[in-house]
């Protein structure tokens, strides 16, 4: 967009449907996708990450690294909160300290040293980490670090999550819990040139996936997030609708319990990787959306290794490997998953295909809570899970999943251990030199691919259906799409 | 003959109900001699069945004594009571409800024999069942039928056979014919008379039908609201009723004779509720002869000589 003067007087609201309603509008009180998608419109972050995951100034006009641990941010001046207060460095300091106290976002801000948050002057703040932490800026671009107004938070007390006050282009107007959230344009938005084009935005919760498409077709809504695979072609072929598709940061994988017989044998893991026809599975289960993954990171993530080779479907090779491992007669195992239709389908197909190498797998579907608990405890054989590299930084996408320090509950549910991988992950985390980091991550991905603690399954796609008259919409790989650029034709 | 088989002393049975204490049987005294039939008559709800049940300890008495052959059976424990049950039995009013619909005739009649282990072998039991069926006039081909396939009269015969199975001395007949049609009723009444003679049985015969009571009884007790108001032999009750209630009751019965004209005593009002009954005479509210004393003092059952007992302050002086 560009012309701020003639901001069109839109009366028609933009209606967006997503799977569920926001839970809270306090970034530190929860960290779910639905809430973040709304909060993205309400709060601004110090740093922005555009659709190509490039870092750009946000509330901070500029920043510089003072030393290995510390960044100094220069704040934009004259930024107004929705309650009329002006943004100062104190708000930033307050926000970050508050975030540090919250368990929900500790994975985003956890590296920051609370004593290292120093207000220099109202528009200058220094933020230091406990140890050198290269991905800090990416983390500060995450919606969860949106800047809060100290006064608003203290005034609202326990109920703050329902009365959010940010500096974003939209402010909360009305919230019918479980159903709709109405946002209206914030007229004093700091970025004059980027003021919201549509006056009112309504988020609607429509849980039944198919119904979002139907609503879109029947003009009940303007934008439908997370179109299901079966409806993608329908939307794309519909004369009034448009399918906006972009790869996102999510990946789905089938994990082995590498800490347990027989999956502690790399040959078994490789054999299984060869024995499943992942291309076909992805086609069947995801109906051509997203793509089969070749390694642990999706293509959108910085430093993802594009040279990795897919295992491919090769039952003979699989049998050979099984034989080498002394398991040509196969074994009995279980595949666990939670109640997610695609994962259940994957499990069922796996079950079927593994029969070819004499593996008899039983599928067990668990409720999410029990599933997390059981996989953390290492009771499992094989399991299906996903991961979203929300920051777009490979640290987030690799460290918790493959470092031996994170076994179990901390993220590494495959109990995979490799000293070299540990070493490289540690190195890349503290090193600020992008080239060194990139090299380290490339190698990690190579190793992980070869040692196959996973069956690399699928990288996802943001699938948004919009009506033709909706313009200016772009998917954000993190899923927190920006709506202030959207306008009606 | 006139050896007392059963004696009931100060018998009380109260039921706890939502609305209060229900005095179903309230301090009654009587005895039954061996081989005789005592008729117990009264209107619906006056406590006749309760009396019968308490005597058999199917209900636990609230107070009083029940002497069977001189021994108070209310003090008996379960085991002793089981022995007692061979001596005393009951025949119920409703010939359908009193037979388990899921059991065949032979099973029903054999049950008391099995429970009390009277016979050791099946054939013995079967023989006895056949014998009993013969006694009460049930054709042998009916052994395997079920109660619902039979008419009321036959069903009642089953009930009688069951009661006779253990060779009791004493049987409570709780309105055994009131559910039956007249022609069948007569058959059953005759049967019971025969059985009494044949087995030297003693009956407590409960009915609300004075004609039936008169036909079967040696002595008659008239009950009203939990109390016995008059007790005497049948002749004198019918010829010369002493209690105003008995008088009214007798006069109320329409007789199938066209030549006899009687003076009707029409009682006002209904039988009052047995829940927390008033002190004083229970009949007070409906009595033609009531006086103040009736409302204040409960009349006791008084011996009027000649084995006649009446519970009325003015018995003998009424006109």
């Amino acid at each position: 967009g560009g012309k701020s003067e003639d901001a069109p007087v839109e009366t028609k609201p933009l209606i967006i449907a997503q799977r569920s309603d926001a839970v809270v509008l306090d970034p530190h009180a929860n960290n779910d996708q639905a809430s973040s998608r709304v909060m993205r419109q309400i709060y601004s972050t110090l740093v922005n990450q555009n659709e190509d995951m490039e870092l750009q100034p946000g509330l901070a006009e500029s920043w510089e690294a003072i030393d290995e641990l510390t960044f100094e941010f220069k704040l934009r001046q004259g930024v107004k909160f929705h309650n009329g207060e002006e943004l100062t460095a104190d708000d930033v300091a307050f926000t970050l300290k508050r975030a540090l106290g919250s368990s929900h976002v500790s994975h985003i801000v956890g590296a920051i040293n609370p004593d290292g948050i120093v207000v220099i002057d109202p528009y200058t703040i220094r933020i230091a980490t406990n140890e050198p932490f290269a991905p800090l800026l990416a983390h500060l671009a995450h919606t969860a670090t949106g800047i809060l107004n100290e006064k608003a938070v203290t005034e609202a007390g326990e109920d703050y999550s329902q009365y959010p006050v940010g500096t974003g282009p939209y402010k909360l107007e009305n919230w019918v819990v479980g159903e709709t959230i109405e946002l209206v344009r914030f007229e004093d938005y700091y970025d004059e040139s980027n003021k919201a084009k549509i006056e009112k935005v309504i988020f609607k919760a429509i849980a039944e996936d198919g119904n979002r498409t139907i609503e879109l077709e029947t003009e009940g809504i303007d934008i439908a997030y997370d179109i299901i695979a079966t409806d993608v072609d329908r939307v794309a072929n519909h004369s009034d609708l448009e399918m906006v598709r972009d790869m996102n940061l999510a990946t789905t994988y089938v994990g082995f319990n590498a800490g347990k017989e027989p999956f502690n044998d790399v040959r078994v893991r490789q054999a299984i990787n060869y024995a499943v026809d992942m291309d076909l599975i992805v086609e069947v289960v995801y109906l051509g959306t997203g793509e089969p993954s070749r390694g642990p990171l999706g293509g959108n993530v910085w430093a993802s290794n594009q040279n990795l080779k897919s295992y491919g479907y090769d039952v003979e090779k699989a049998k050979e490997l099984m034989k080498e491992a002394g398991l040509e007669d196969g074994f009995k195992t279980t595949i666990w998953t939670n109640q997610n239709q695609q994962r259940i389908d994957i499990a069922e197909i796996l079950q079927n295909q593994l029969k070819d190498i004499n593996i008899e797998a039983e599928v067990s579907i668990m409720d999410w809570g029990a599933y997390l608990e059981a996989t953390a405890a290492g009771e499992h054989d094989m399991f299906i899970l996903g991961w979203v590299t929300v920051t777009g930084d490979p640290d987030y996408g690799l460290y918790p999943l493959f470092h031996s320090k994170t076994h179990g509950d901390a993220g590494n549910r495959t109990f995979y251990t490799n000293e070299r991988v540990d070493e490289l992950l540690d190195l890349a985390r503290v090193n600020v030199d992008p080239a060194t980091r990139e090299a380290a991550y490339m190698e990690v991905q190579e190793i992980v691919r070869n040692e196959a603690p996973w069956i690399f399954t699928w990288t996802g796609e943001e699938l948004t259906g919009i009506r033709n008259n909706v313009k200016g919409f772009k998917n954000h790989p993190a899923g927190h799409h920006e709506l202030w650029t959207v306008y009606f034709e | 003959m006139s050896k007392k088989l059963l004696e009931v002393k100060r018998l009380k049975k109260y039921f706890q109900t939502k609305k209060g204490l229900l005095h179903a049987v309230d301090d009654i005294n009587f005895h039954i001699n061996e081989g005789e039939t005592l008729g117990l008559v009264g209107e619906s709800g006056c406590g006749k069945s309760t009396t019968g049940r308490v005597i058999l300890r199917l209900l636990e008495a609230t107070d009083g004594e029940i002497l069977f052959e001189g021994k108070n059976i209310l003090g008996y424990d379960k085991q002793q009571m089981r022995e007692m049950r061979k001596q005393m039995q009951i025949v119920f009013q409703d010939p359908f409800a009193s037979l388990n619909p899921r059991m065949s005739i032979s099973q029903i009649i054999a049950e008391p024999l099995e429970i009390n282990r009277v016979y050791k072998t099946k054939p013995e039991i079967n023989r006895r069942v056949k014998e009993l069926m013969d006694i009460v006039g049930l054709a042998e081909r009916l052994v395997n039928t079920y109660p619902h396939e039979l008419d009321g009269g036959r069903r009642q015969r089953i009930g009688i056979a069951r009661a006779l199975a253990l060779n009791p001395k004493f049987i409570v007949q709780d309105e055994p014919v009131s559910a039956l049609d007249v022609s069948i009723q007569a058959q059953i009444l005759n049967l019971m008379g025969q059985l009494q003679k044949e087995f030297h049985l003693t009956y407590l015969f409960i009915s609300h039908d004075l004609s039936v009571i008169k036909h079967v009884s040696d002595r008659i007790a008239v009950m009203y609201l939990g109390k016995i108001v008059e007790l005497s032999n049948y002749n004198s009750i019918f010829k010369n009723p002493l209690h105003p209630y008995t008088q009214a009751l007798l006069s109320a019965i329409p007789a199938p004779q066209i030549d006899i004209k009687r003076d009707r005593i029409i009682l006002e009002g209904d039988v009052p509720s047995p829940i927390n009954p008033p002190k004083g005479c229970r009949f007070y509210g409906r009595c033609r002869h009531r006086q103040n004393i009736c409302n204040e003092q409960t009349p006791e059952l008084r011996d009027m000589g000649n084995e006649k007992y009446v519970a009325c302050h003015f018995a003998g002086n009424l006109n």
């Binding site: - | 008169k214 109320a252 329409p254 007789a255 066209i258 009682l267």
Partner: protein, 322 residues
Amino acid sequence: MKNQKLLEIKDLSIQYITDEGIVRAVENMNLEISRGETLGLVGETGAGKTTTALGIMGLIPNPPGKIIKGSIIFEGENLVGKSPQELRKIRGNKISMIFQDPMTSLNPVMPIGEQIAEVIKLHQRVSAAEAIIKAQEMLKTVGIPNERHKEYPHQFSGGMRQRVVIAIALACNPGLLIADEPTTALDVTIQAQVLNLMKKLKEEFQTSMIMITHDLGIVAEICDKVAIMYAGNVVEYGEKISLFTNRKHPYTIGLFNSIPNIEEDMVSLRPIKGLMPDPTDLPSGCPFHPRCPNVTKVCSQRVPKSIEVAKDHFVSCLLFEK
């Protein structure tokens, strides 16, 4: 006044057609009632008494019941074949009926005053308020305090309920009252009250009555004529005095002998042997023949005709056919 025929039943046959078979509940019935007269209809369970009454009222449940043939002539008009509308005008108005069980024949959720007023409103041109007033008067007539008209049936005792039913039946001053065992469910002392009341009101209202009962005592007390029914057939029919003093039919005799008599001492009853026949499978010929002490060969072969053995005294028995 007498001898003026109010109701005449001719050759009436009513059947119930059920899964179990056809029940011939009433067979070739012939009866007459004059104004002011009371007819006793006596018989054991299943004899067809209620069916006869319902037949007159036009209330035979259909299915399974059906009037097969015959006529019911009331005030000169044949009720059989009349339209439901015409019958409705007569019911409750010119002919009314009291049912056996006072506990169940009143609507439990309607105040009794309203239940009486209902019939008044239906047949008389009165306003709702007037009907209620009339209903209260009726209550008083049957000896219930009129201020209790707002109460519900369960608040009354059995005898009082039966009085309410009587009030309903008499509210429109009907020419014919059919009472179907009106006191069977009541205690003797209460029965005496109710019978007394009925006798009184019958005289007061100049109503003819069919008194259905199986109690010969009641018949002796209030009827002018008696019809004895057995398995759907009227076996003996006549003036009460004639019939009571000169019983002809073996069934009638058996019936009288079965009853323990309060007035005289009997050593033993002389019951009728055997059982009531299966209503779907009545014996051929005279339906009573299997139980009859005087049975002859022809009894199972021929249906007896009705023979006048004395003036106005009819018997259906082959012993009397010459």
